[in-house]
C-alpha cells in the first residue's frame, strides 16, 4: 500500500497536468433558420473566452432549419447539447420527451430568452400605401403577405401580434380580435408554408404591399436584398417575439458537456454576447447595450405570449391546433 501511494500520486499529477493542458470539447447547437451569422460570431467569441478561462478547445457545431423540424430532429436523436429555437413551444416538445427539464424557462433569466425581436412590417420604398399601423393592413386594396400559421412557427407570432393589437384597442375583446384577424387574412393573396417562402413571395416575386415579419429578419432581408428597395414600419403595438434557448439536459449529461453548455447559454446574456446579438438585429436585454443600438430598434409597446395568451401551450391549443380559432376563420364560418 505504501508503495502504491507515490504511484497514485504520480498518476493524479499526470491527470491534473492533462486537465490543465485542456481538453477538446465539441458542442452541438441546434438552431433555427436565419441565425447563422449571429452564432458564427457568438461561437468565435465564446470559444476564445473559454480557452482563456479554462484552457479547453471548444468546437461549436451548428445545425439550422425550421424551428419545429429542428425540435423534432432532437426528439429523434439529433445529439444537441444546446437548442436555440424560434418559440418556446418547440422546447416544450423536448421537455415532453424528457430531454429538457420541465422548468427550463425558469432556469435562465428573462424567460430563457437572451435576446428578443418583434413583429414589424416590411413595405416597398416610399411606403406607397401609407402603412403605419395594424389597422392600415385591412384597408381596401392592401395586400398582406404572411405565411400559414398552421405550418410556420414565425407566422404564429404574426397571428398573435395581430390578435393582440385588436384586443388592446379601446373596447377590444376576443370577438373583435377574431373579426380583425379574419379580415386581415382576407387580404393575404398567398399563404406560404414558411417565413422564408413568404419573404420570397414579397421580395422576389413582388407580390403584396406589406410583409409581416420578424424585425431581425426584416432588417437582415433589407440588408441583403437592397436598402433602397424596402422600408421597415414598426406598428404602435406588437408582440415581443422571444426565441428561447436551453441546455438539452439528457444530451449534455450523456456527452459530459454540461459545464460548457451552461456557460455557452449564459454567455448569450453577457455584455459581449448581447453586443453580438444587437449587431445581428436582435433586440438585446441589457439596457446599456440596448441604449447603444437605440437607433436600430424604434421603441414600440409590446406584449408577451405569456401576458396575453397564458403561454405557448395554451396559445397553440386555442389558435393553431386542428379545429382551433385559425381553422374557424375560413370562409363560411
Amino acid at each position: 500500500m505504501r508503495k502504491l501511494f507515490p504511484v497514485l500520486l504520480a498518476m493524479m499529477g499526470v491527470l491534473l497536468a492533462s486537465v490543465a493542458m485542456g481538453k477538446d470539447i465539441t458542442l452541438l447547437n441546434v438552431s433555427y433558420d436565419p441565425t447563422r451569422e449571429l452564432y458564427r460570431q457568438i461561437n468565435t467569441a465564446f470559444v476564445a473566452q473559454w480557452k482563456a478561462q479554462h484552457g479547453d478547445s471548444v468546437t461549436v457545431q451548428m445545425s439550422h432549419g425550421g424551428s419545429g423540424k429542428q425540435a423534432r430532429s432532437v426528439v429523434d436523436g439529433l445529439p444537441a447539447d444546446v437548442v436555440t429555437l424560434a418559440l418556446g413551444y418547440d422546447i416544450d416538445a423536448l421537455a415532453d420527451h424528457g430531454l429538457v427539464a420541465k422548468n427550463w424557462q425558469q432556469r435562465l433569466p428573462d424567460n430563457a430568452t437572451p435576446y428578443t425581436s418583434t413583429i414589424v412590417f416590411l413595405v416597398r420604398k416610399g411606403n406607397p400605401k401609407g402603412i403605419k399601423d395594424w389597422a392600415d393592413l385591412v384597408k381596401p386594396g392592401v395586400q398582406v403577405v404572411t405565411p400559414n400559421p398552421k405550418s410556420s412557427g414565425g407566422a404564429r407570432w404574426n397571428f398573435l401580434a395581430a390578435w393582440g393589437y385588436a384586443l388592446k384597442q379601446p373596447a377590444g375583446n376576443d370577438d373583435k380580435a377574431k373579426a380583425f384577424v379574419r379580415e386581415l387574412y382576407k387580404h393575404v393573396p398567398v399563404l406560404d408554408t414558411g417565413a422564408r417562402g413568404a419573404t420570397n413571395t414579397f421580395v422576389q416575386r413582388g407580390i403584396g404591399d406589406v410583409l409581416i415579419a420578424w424585425e431581425n429578419e426584416a432588417l437582415l432581408a433589407r440588408q441583403q436584398l437592397g436598402k433602397d428597395k424596402f422600408e421597415i414600419v414598426v406598428p404602435s403595438i406588437t408582440i415581443l417575439a422571444e426565441p428561447p434557448v436551453a441546455v438539452v439536459d439528457a444530451n449534455a449529461d450523456k456527452h459530459g458537456t454540461r459545464a460548457v453548455a451552461e456557460a455557452y447559454v449564459q454567455f448569450l446574456y453577457s455584455p459581449q454576447g448581447q453586443e453580438i446579438a444587437a449587431k445581428n438585429y436582435y433586440r438585446p436585454r441589457l439596457a446599456d447595450v440596448a441604449a447603444r443600438y437605440a437607433s436600430q430598434f424604434p421603441t414600440t409597446h409590446t406584449f408577451t405570449v405569456d401576458e396575453l395568451f397564458g403561454g405557448w401551450r395554451k396559445a397553440q391549443a386555442r389558435f393553431f391546433n386542428d379545429g382551433g380559432v385559425f381553422d374557424q376563420l375560413g370562409p363560411g364560418s
Binding site: 452541438l28 441546434v30 433558420d33 436565419p34 447563422r36 451569422e37 457545431q61 451548428m62 445545425s63 439550422h64 432549419g65 429542428q70 430532429s73 426528439v75 429523434d76 436523436g77 439529433l78 445529439p79 420527451h97 422564408r196 419573404t199 429578419e217 437582415l220 432581408a221 441583403q224 436584398l225
Partner: protein
C-alpha cells in the same frame, strides 16, 4: 390555312407542322431548362467573381462537396453490385416471387423521398424501433453519415437494375450458354461475355444513379440533422444558405451542383455520340 389549300400543297402543311413542333419543343426547353439553369449562374455571380469564390471556399461548402462525393462514392458502387445481381436474377433465373422482386426494385421510384427518409428515422431514430439499442451500443446512423448513405442507396436503388433488366432480357442467355459449353468458368463468362454486352447500359445506369445520388434532397434532408460541416450535403447546404438570405452563397453551391450535373450529362452525350449505334440498339428508355 383552309383545307383546300392544304390539300393542294401537302408539303407545305407538313413543313409547317414540323416547324411548329420544333419551335414548341425549343421554347419549352428554353423556358423550363435553359432559363432556370442560366438564372442559377447569373444569381451566383450577381455580386462578382470574388464573392462567388469566397462563398465556395468556406469550410462548410468544401465539406458539403466532400460529403456529397463521399456519399455518391459509396452509394453508386453498392448500386452497381445490387443492380447487376438483381438484373441477373430477374433475367436468368425462374423462381417464386420474381414478380415481387421486380415490384420491389421499383418501390423507391413510387415512394416519396421524404417518406423514405422518415422510414429510416422511424427505424433508427431515438424514438424508433432500433433507436434505443443503437444508442446503448454507441452506433450512430440517423443524423450521421451512415444515415445519409442509407437514404441515398434506397433512393437510387432502381437506376442500375432498371437499365440492365430490359437489355439482358432482350439479349437472352445464348452467348453465355455457349461460353459455358466451351469451358469458361462462371467468372470468365461474366467478365468476357456478359459484361461487354451490358457495359453501356451499365454505364448509363451508373451515370443516372450518380446524378441522383448527388442531387437527392428530400430523403437526406430528413435524416441529415443539418449539422454544418458534418452532415450537410450540397443540396442541403443550398437550402440552408437560401434560408439565411445568403443568395450568392446558395446559388454558388447550386452552380457547383449544376456543373456536376452538366458534367454527367456531358459524359452521357459523349458516350451516345461515340457509341450511338450500339446504345440505340440496346438502351431501354431512360428514366
Amino acid at each position: 390555312m383552309n383545307p383546300a389549300v392544304g390539300r393542294r400543297k401537302p408539303g407545305l402543311t407538313r413543313r409547317l407542322v414540323r416547324l411548329a413542333l420544333i419551335l414548341l419543343a425549343l421554347v419549352f426547353l428554353l423556358l423550363f431548362l435553359v432559363l432556370p439553369l442560366a438564372a442559377v449562374f447569373v444569381e451566383a455571380f450577381r455580386q462578382g467573381v470574388e464573392p462567388y469564390l469566397e462563398s465556395i471556399r468556406q469550410p462548410e461548402a468544401l465539406s458539403a462537396i466532400r460529403l456529397t462525393l463521399l456519399v455518391a462514392a459509396i452509394a453508386v458502387p453498392l448500386n452497381v453490385v445490387f443492380g447487376v445481381a438483381a438484373a441477373w436474377a430477374m433475367t436468368r433465373f425462374e423462381f417464386r416471387g420474381k414478380a415481387l422482386l421486380g415490384a420491389l426494385i421499383d418501390l423507391p421510384f413510387s415512394v416519396s423521398p421524404v417518406i423514405s427518409g422518415l422510414v429510416y428515422v422511424l427505424l433508427f431514430g431515438a424514438q424508433g424501433w432500433f433507436g434505443p439499442w443503437l444508442e446503448a451500443h454507441g452506433v450512430k446512423i440517423i443524423f450521421a453519415v451512415p444515415g445519409l448513405v442509407l437514404a441515398t442507396v434506397f433512393i437510387t436503388l432502381p437506376f442500375v437494375a432498371r437499365e440492365l433488366i430490359p437489355l439482358m432480357q432482350s439479349q437472352g442467355s445464348e452467348e453465355e450458354q455457349a461460353a459455358r459449353v466451351l469451358g469458361a468458368s462462371g467468372w470468365q463468362m461474366f467478365f468476357r461475355v456478359t459484361l461487354p454486352n451490358i457495359r453501356w447500359a451499365l454505364l448509363y445506369g451508373v451515370l443516372l444513379c450518380n446524378a441522383r445520388a448527388m442531387g437527392e434532397f428530400g430523403a437526406v434532408s430528413v435524416v441529415s440533422g443539418h449539422i454544418r460541416g458534418l452532415t450537410t450535403t450540397m443540396p442541403l447546404e443550398v437550402e440552408m444558405r437560401y434560408n439565411e438570405y445568403d443568395y450568392v452563397g446558395a446559388f454558388a453551391v447550386a452552380s457547383l451542383l449544376a456543373l456536376l450535373a452538366l458534367l454527367t450529362l456531358g459524359i452521357k452525350t459523349l458516350l451516345e455520340w461515340r457509341y450511338g449505334d450500339e446504345l440505340a440498339a440496346h438502351a431501354p428508355g431512360g428514366h
